[in-house]
């Protein structure tokens, strides 16, 4: 899933200063799963914004609405019915959802309430970790199903770096496992450590984020 976290509420209060009627728009998919932008978070943030703005001397009406997905046009349409009189939208969706809403409703300013951070998995309640960086040239087949791009601080294709900390922790952040240790352990369990001795082929980065906006086109799905 895509994960993100609230921007600091004090920053959001500043952003919305002077607005008369604000729609706080939630998304019930990824950002709901990571407790940043679902209905629960929308209903938590709305009273905070009212209080924060009032404290600074601003009266504001806050309306809330959470749709199934802000990243699909069909669902985005639903927001039209709650936009009456709204002079700013605060979207708690990921960056994709924010852009979709901004594109569909261009007359009203839209602000992101969430910083989108990663493609991640929920490890356990309250802990999410990045698992993929959408590099566009997946190497998981060579790394025993562990991503060295998203999970190694240096995105090494031939690891480990030599700085791995005691207990198999990453030297850059001791909270994180060194993914190259994990790759080694998995290779060992499969009796395939030799495969790690080979120097990996250079990875194609042209399909990563450096070539401008990525596009995916499937003629067979177009009418």
């Amino acid at each position: 899933m895509i994960i993100g976290e609230w921007k600091p509420v004090a920053e959001l209060v500043e952003t919305l200063r002077g607005r008369k009627k604000v729609l706080v728009a939630g998304c019930a998919t990824c950002v709901a799963e990571c407790a940043a932008g679902g209905e629960r978070e929308v209903e938590t943030l709305a009273p905070l914004l009212r209080m924060g703005l009032k404290k600074k001397g601003h009266d504001v009406e806050i309306v809330t609405h959470t749709i199934e997905r802000q990243c699909e046009w069909e669902f985005v349409e639903e927001l039209e019915k709650v936009l009456g009189g709204v002079d700013a939208v605060l979207s708690l969706a990921c960056g994709i959802g924010v852009q979709a809403v901004a594109e569909r409703f261009q007359d009203v300013p839209i602000y992101p309430g969430v910083n989108t951070t990663a493609l991640a998995i929920r490890e356990e309640p309250g802990l999410w970790t990045a698992r993929c960086a959408a590099c566009g040239d997946c190497v998981l087949g060579e790394t025993f199903g562990l991503c060295p791009i998203a999970r190694c601080a240096k995105s090494l294709l031939n690891g480990p770096c030599g700085g791995t900390h005691e207990g198999g922790k990453c030297e850059v952040n001791h909270d994180n496992d060194c993914v190259w240790c994990l790759i080694y352990e998995r290779a060992k369990a499969r009796g395939a450590v030799d495969s790690l001795i080979e120097v990996k082929r250079s990875k194609g980065w042209s399909s990563s984020s450096h070539g401008g906006q990525k596009r995916m086109l499937r003629e067979d799905l177009r009418s």
Binding site: P8, V9, L48, R50, M51, E61, I62
Partner: protein, 145 residues
């Protein structure tokens, strides 16, 4: 923002949200509660575990000066970790209240049990005293959400 001189005439409105398992007398029901120095309203909850931060913040956003939550002590919660998780949500909401300059003291949670009317009144009065330096809620008369 703290006021330099607390207003002695200020009578805070305090909402006391109490898990029914914490009450010594199961006959105590929701309603007004006589408490020193404040207007206290008791809400008896079936369980504190279902309390969401949004409920607590909405009570404050609608003009109540302070909210006092009461849940079971560690080990006594019939839902296992219910009151512990409620405390975590209260702590998060307190942090957010501080972040917007509204005052974390407007919201607090106690984990205790065997409470009679006097104890409940004391908890409400204690919360009222804790927020007296903050003064009345800026949200008074602003019931919207």
């Amino acid at each position: 923002m703290k006021r330099d001189v607390p207003d002695a005439r200020f009578t805070p409105d305090v909402a006391l949200l109490c898990c029914k398992q914490c009450l010594a007398d199961p006959g105590v029901t929701s309603g007004l509660l006589e408490a020193k120095g404040c207007r206290a309203r008791l809400v008896v909850l079936p369980c504190s575990s279902k309390l969401e931060g949004s409920y607590l913040l909405k009570i404050l956003a609608n003009g109540t000066d302070a909210v006092q939550v009461v849940g079971c002590p560690e080990g006594a919660c019939r839902f296992g970790v219910g009151s512990r998780m409620a405390l975590k949500r209260v702590e998060r909401a307190r942090g957010l209240l501080d972040e917007i300059g509204f005052g974390a003291e407007r919201l607090a949670m106690e984990r205790t049990t065997g409470l009679g009317r006097q104890d409940l009144a004391a908890l409400a009065a204690g919360r009222a005293e804790a927020i007296r330096p903050l003064g009345a809620s800026p949200m008074k008369g602003d019931e919207k959400a």
